[in-house]
């Protein structure tokens, strides 16, 4: 051990400023999912971790954290809403929330992806068309190469 760490003041400083993690979550995750990134919440020190506990415990102690968590339809012993019945095998479309499709159902992705496609040294002209509709599954980038353009 480095001589400096024998100094109680240094040790206390190290202890205060070492990253503290949520140990409950860490222990649970080590034994259940050994290959995932375990720390989603880190603190700069023990005092911050303790100060935050009254807010954090709601997440840490959430039923969602348990391996034994089960969806509502299991707990309520009923058919889930996405399963039809014998009388009505097709699930009805239900309207909910605001009728806005701000993000569609496709995340933001690099459609061009030059590195994987034309290459990062690609110097020819590109034209992309996003004709757009309310459902992003119908977004269709249309690539028309080799047409010089004035922008």
């Amino acid at each position: 051990m480095h001589p400096a760490t024998k100094d109680p003041h240094v040790w206390e400083w190290l202890h205060m400023h070492a990253k503290a993690v949520c140990w409950f979550k860490l222990v649970r995750l080590i034994f259940t999912f050994p290959y995932i990134d375990r720390t989603i919440l880190q603190y700069c020190g023990k005092s911050c971790q303790q100060a935050h506990w009254s807010i954090h415990k709601g997440d840490c102690k959430s039923p969602l954290m348990k391996i034994t968590w089960r969806p509502s339809w299991v707990l309520e012993a009923r058919e889930p809403a996405f399963i039809g019945t014998e009388e009505s095998p097709f699930v009805d479309m239900v309207s909910y929330g605001r009728q806005k499709y701000l993000w569609g159902n496709v995340p933001a992705i690099d459609l061009l992806n030059l590195q994987q496609n034309e290459g990062v040294d690609f110097t020819e002209d590109l034209r992309l068309l996003f004709a757009g509709t309310r459902h992003s599954t119908r977004l269709c980038p249309l690539l028309i190469p080799n047409q010089p353009l004035e922008i």
């Binding site: 979550k25 605001r98 690609f122 034209r127 996003f130 309310r134 010089p148 353009l149 922008i151």
Partner: protein, 173 residues
């Protein structure tokens, strides 16, 4: 070096306005300034007061200038404006009526609180009608990820789980 032309269209004026604002942010500010503003304008129910000020001080005037020039035009006439930023440019084509609505996206509606803004978003992301669909998706996720997913659906702020949300104190107009 070649040219790159991108044409973007949508039939929803709110989506068109959002796309135009995101592009103007990307073209007007440097990447390190534009990125967090774009991220929260796009995905979060709340923005910081600073971000809203940047939008109102730098992007809104670009649109107000156009609205002032086209005051006398008919409501349904198609009008185009092109802004140039160095070697890049953006051309926006809208009806006069749609142009006049653009500045409204920079104002927080009177009386809209943070909690109300988050509740409006949660009426879709946590709709009771969709609980079983959401539970079905959570079932296949790792426990800590479920907590993270639900936090995003509930508070509507796109940030790492442990990040402070203190600065984001203004409803995203």
């Amino acid at each position: 070096m070649g040219h790159c032309e991108v044409v973007v269209n949508d039939k929803d004026p709110d989506i068109v306005a959002r796309n135009a604002i995101l592009l103007l942010l990307a073209l007007h500010f440097s990447p390190d300034v534009a990125t967090p503003i774009m991220l929260h304008v796009w995905y979060s129910a709340l923005v910081s007061a600073n971000m809203l000020r940047c939008l109102q001080d730098s992007i809104l005037p670009l649109l107000q200038e156009v609205c002032k020039k086209i005051q006398a035009k008919p409501a349904q006439s198609l009008l185009s404006k092109k802004w140039t930023f160095g070697t890049r440019s953006l051309r926006l084509v809208l009806t006069k009526e749609q142009w006049d609505r653009l500045p409204l996206y920079f104002e927080v509606p009177d009386g809209l609180s943070m909690a109300q803004a988050q509740a409006i978003r949660a009426s879709t992301t946590l709709a009771p009608e969709r609980k079983d669909y959401l539970d079905r998706a959570l079932l296949t996720q790792q426990p800590a990820w479920r907590v993270c997913v639900m936090k995003f659906r509930k508070d509507g702020i796109l940030l790492p789980f442990g990040s402070s949300r203190k600065e984001l104190d203004t409803p995203n107009p």
